[in-house]
Amino acid sequence: MDNLKNSYKKDLYSVIEDIESNSKVEIVTMIKSQSGVYRDISFFYGAVILFLAYSFFMFSPPEFDVYLIYFFTIAAFVIGFSIVEFISPIKSILISKKRKNKQVEIYARAIFQKAGIRHTKDKIGVFIYVSVFEKQTYIIADRGAEMSMPNEDWEEIKTKFQNVFSTPNFYQAVIESLQSSKPFFSKYLPPVENDVNELPDNLDVDI
C-alpha cells in the first residue's frame, strides 16, 4: 500500500510540476479521507439503539433477567455506535449534506491558511482539496488566480473535480482533472521568464 501511495504521489507531483512549468500558477492538491470526525453522530445513534433496546425490555410482555437487561442495553449502545462509527456508508447517510459541505469548506480553508498557500507575491496560489468520505472537492484560489480567469471557466474546472467521485477510480480521475485544467492556467496565467516556485516543498498542513 505504501508503494502504491508513493507512486501515486510521484505522479500527482509530476502533473502539478508540468502545469506550473507552463503557467504562473502554484497548485497544491490534498486528498483526505475525511474532513470531520462526526463522532457525535455515532454517539447519537448508539444512544438511539440503547433507547430502543431499553424500551423493548421495559414494554415487552416477557420478563427478562436483570443482568440481561443491564448488559444488553450497554451492548446495544456499543453495537449501535460501532455500526455507525466503522461502517462509512451508513455514517455518510446519517450525516446531512449541509454539514458535510460545511466541514469540507472549513477544513479546506484551514489548510489553505496553515500551509501558507497565500504567501505568493502575485497571489496565484490554488488549493485543490478532495475529501473522500464527504465526496466533495473544494477549490480555493487566491485573489490573483481567481481574478485571472472568467468565473465560467473556474466553474468548469470545479465541475470536473467534483465529478471525480462518479468515476470508478477517483485517484486517477483527480490526476486527469488536473491535466484538463492545464490549458486554462496556461492561457490565463501564462508563464513568466525566471519564475520560481514560491511555496516550499515541505508544506505544514498539520492541524
Binding site: 510521484k10 507531483y13 486528498i31 420478563e63 514560491e198 516550499p200
Partner: protein, 510 residues
C-alpha cells in the same frame, strides 16, 4: 494497532459474548460432543429462574439453572471461538479500514523520487553550463551567492548597500529615519545552501538557490531571531564566463577587480565602468521567503527520533563512472584512494569534529571546516553555552562509509559520502544532569558529508594538528580561517580537504 483501539475491540467482544451468553447460554457453554448436561426444563430465557442460583456459576448472567449441568461459568470451546472470532474480525476490519484511510491522505508534495529526478535534471543542466562556461564552479557559485545573501542582510540598513547595486536588480535601501522602526540585521548564519534549479535559455542563464539561514533582527531595541528558508534567483546574460575564485568569493568590480565600491547607479568608483545587470556577473533577479519562524532556544535539549536512517542511500547517477574519472584525473587507483580517504580523512574528520563539538571547542578543528560550516556550528555552540548546556557525543563509532557523489570543475572537487555511525548523544546541564538524549542507549544515525578541495591539490590527509600550509600548530587559526603563523587562509580547501556540508538523510536530495 493502537492500545486504545485494542481495548475498545476487546470490550465490544466481551459484551457481545456476554450478550450471547445471556440469550443463548447453551451456545457459549456447550461442550464438544454435546456432553453438556443442561436440564431441558430450564429455558434459555431464564425468566422463571431469575431469582435462583444466579451465582452458582460464578460468572454467568442468565437464569443460572441452565448452568447446573456443570461447567458452571466456564467459557467452553464454542464460547472461546466466538470470542476470538469477534476480536479477529474487528482487528481485520480495523486494519482494512485504517489502510484505506491512510492510502487516502495524500498531499501533492514531492516524493524522494521526484527530488531525485529534479536533482538529476539540475546536475545535467550544470554539466551543460560547464560546457558553455568552463570556469563555472558550483562551489564558487554557492560561495558567491552566500556572500551576496550575507552582505545584503548585513548592509540592509546601511549606506554600504549601494555596493550591491551591480549584483541585485532591485536594491531597496532602507531610508527610514525612524530608529524605532528601522531594522538592523546581524549575526547571519547560513545553515545550508544548494542549487535547486538551473535554466539555460538562449539569451540568459538562471540559477535558483535555496538558502536555509537564521539571523537576528533588532528593531525598536528589541531582538528577534528568525529561521528562514528563501529562494534566490540569479541570472546573467548568456555567454558571460564565470570569474576566478578571488572575484567570486569577495565582492569586487567584475571589470577591474577592485574591492566593491559603487555609486548608487552601479558605477565602479575605481574604474568608472557602469556595471549593468547580468552583463559581467551573476545578478539577483528575485528573492522570496518560503518559510519563516521565530527561533526559540527552548528545544536545544529536545531529541526528535532519527528519521532517515533506514532510507536507501541516494547515489549520484553513474557514480561509479564519475569516481573513475575523478581517480584518473588525480592519477590514483580508485580503490586505494577510497580506502585511504575513508580511513584517514572521513573517519578522522568525523571523530575529531564530534569530539570538538562535545567539548564546545571548535577551534581545534577550525582547519577542517569551511567558513560557512564553522559559522553554522559556532552559532549552535554559542546557544548551548548561553543556556549553560553541553551536547555530549560519547563513544563515537563509525560503522560504514559509502561514496555517493563526486563533482569536479576547473577550480574545485567535491566528494560526498554517507556515514553510518552511533554514539551516546545527550545534552547535560552544568550540574551534569541529563536534560535530553541518553547516556546509555546509543543513537544510531546516518549523515551525508561533503568535502571540497581545490582542483590540482593532491593531498588527502595530513597532520590535522598542524597548519596544512606552514606546518605550524593549528592552534592559532581564528574564526576567519586564517593561520596566524603564515597568514594564509586554509579553510577554503586550497591545501587539502575541508568539510563543507553536513546533510541529514531526510533532506538530502542528491
Amino acid at each position: 494497532m493502537k492500545l486504545y483501539k485494542l481495548l475498545y475491540i476487546s470490550v465490544i467482544a466481551l459484551f457481545a459474548f456476554f450478550l450471547i451468553n445471556s440469550i443463548l447460554p447453551q451456545v457459549t457453554s456447550a461442550r464438544p460432543g454435546g456432553g453438556h448436561s443442561y436440564s431441558s426444563g430450564s429455558s434459555s430465557s431464564s425468566s422463571s429462574s431469575s431469582s435462583s442460583s444466579s451465582s452458582s456459576g460464578g460468572g454467568t448472567y442468565s437464569g443460572g439453572s441452565s448452568q447446573s449441568g456443570g461447567g458452571s461459568g466456564e467459557f467452553t470451546w464454542l464460547g472461546m471461538l466466538i470470542l476470538v472470532s469477534i476480536v479477529a474480525a474487528a482487528v481485520f476490519i480495523d486494519k482494512y479500514v485504517t489502510n484505506r484511510k491512510e492510502a487516502k491522505e495524500i498531499l501533492s508534495t514531492p516524493t524522494r523520487e521526484n527530488f531525485r529526478e529534479n536533482t538529476d535534471k539540475v546536475e545535467k543542466a550544470i554539466k551543460e553550463l560547464k560546457k558553455i562556461d568552463p570556469n563555472f564552479s558550483k562551489t564558487l557559485f554557492l560561495d558567491f551567492a552566500s556572500s551576496i545573501y550575507t552582505k545584503y542582510h548585513s548592509w540592509y540598513d546601511k549606506p554600504e548597500l549601494k555596493n550591491l547595486v551591480p549584483y541585485m536588480l532591485n536594491v531597496r535601501i532602507d531610508n527610514n529615519k525612524d530608529e524605532a522602526i528601522k531594522k538592523h540585521i546581524y549575526n547571519i548564519v547560513i545553515g545550508s545552501i544548494h542549487i535547486s534549479e538551473v535554466k539555460l535559455q538562449s539569451a540568459t542563464q538562471g540559477i535558483v538557490v535555496t538558502i536555509e539561514a537564521n539571523y537576528s533582527v533588532k528593531q525598536n531595541n528589541k531582538r528577534t531571531r528568525y529561521i528562514v528558508t528563501e529562494k534566490w534567483n540569479f541570472f546573467r546574460d548568456a555567454g558571460v564566463l564565470s570569474h576566478e575564485p578571488e572575484k567570486m568569493r569577495e565582492l569586487s568590480c567584475p571589470n577591474c577587480g577592485a574591492a566593491a565600491n559603487f555609486t548608487d547607479a552601479g558605477v565602479c568608483e575605481s574604474c568608472g565602468t557602469l556595471i549593468k545587470p547580468g552583463e559581467m556577473q551573476w545578478e539577483l533577479l528575485t528573492s522570496s521567503i518560503q518559510n519563516q519562524e521565530v527561533f526559540e532556544t527552548g528545544g536545544l535539549a529536545y531529541y526528535a527520533p532519527e528519521k532517515g536512517t533506514g532510507y536507501e542511500t541516494l547515489f549520484q547517477k553513474n557514480y561509479k563512472n564519475e569516481f573513475e574519472v575523478f581517480a584518473k584525473n588525480n592519477n590514483v587507483e580508485f580503490e586505494v584512494w577510497k580506502n585511504n580517504f575513508e580511513t584517514k580523512v572521513a573517519k578522522q574528520y568525523f571523530t575529531k569534529i564530534y569530539d570538538a563539538w562535545s567539548t564546545n571547542n571548535l577551534n581545534v578543528v577550525r582547519n577542517l571546516l569551511t567558513d560557512r560550516l564553522y559559522e553554522s556550528f559556532d552559532f549552535w555552540i554559542k546557544n548551548y553555552k548561553r543556556k549553560k548546556l553541553l551536547n555530549k557525543l560519547d563513544n563515537v563509532k563509525v560503522y560504514k562509509v559509502e561514496f555517493v557523489k563526486v563533482d569536479t570543475d576547473k577550480f574545485y572537487e567535491s566528494v560526498t559520502i554517507r556515514i553510518a555511525a552511533s554514539c551516546f548523544d545527550y545534552v547535560q546541564n552544568k550540574e551534569g544532569k541529563v536534560e535530553g538524549g541518553s547516556k546509555s542507549i546509543p543513537r544510531v544515525f546516518t549523515e551525508y558529508w561533503t568535502f571540497i578541495r581545490r582542483s590540482g591539490v593532491k593531498i588527502d590527509d595530513y597532520d590535522y594538528s598542524k597548519c596544512p600550509n606552514c606546518g605550524a600548530p593549528a592552534n592559532k587559526i581564528g574564526q576567519t580561517g586564517i593561520c596566524d603563523y603564515c597568514d594564509t587562509k586554509i579553510s577554503n580547501g586550497d591545501f587539502s580537504w575541508v568539510l563543507s556540508i553536513i546533510t541529514q538523510d531526510e533532506v538530502y536530495k542528491g
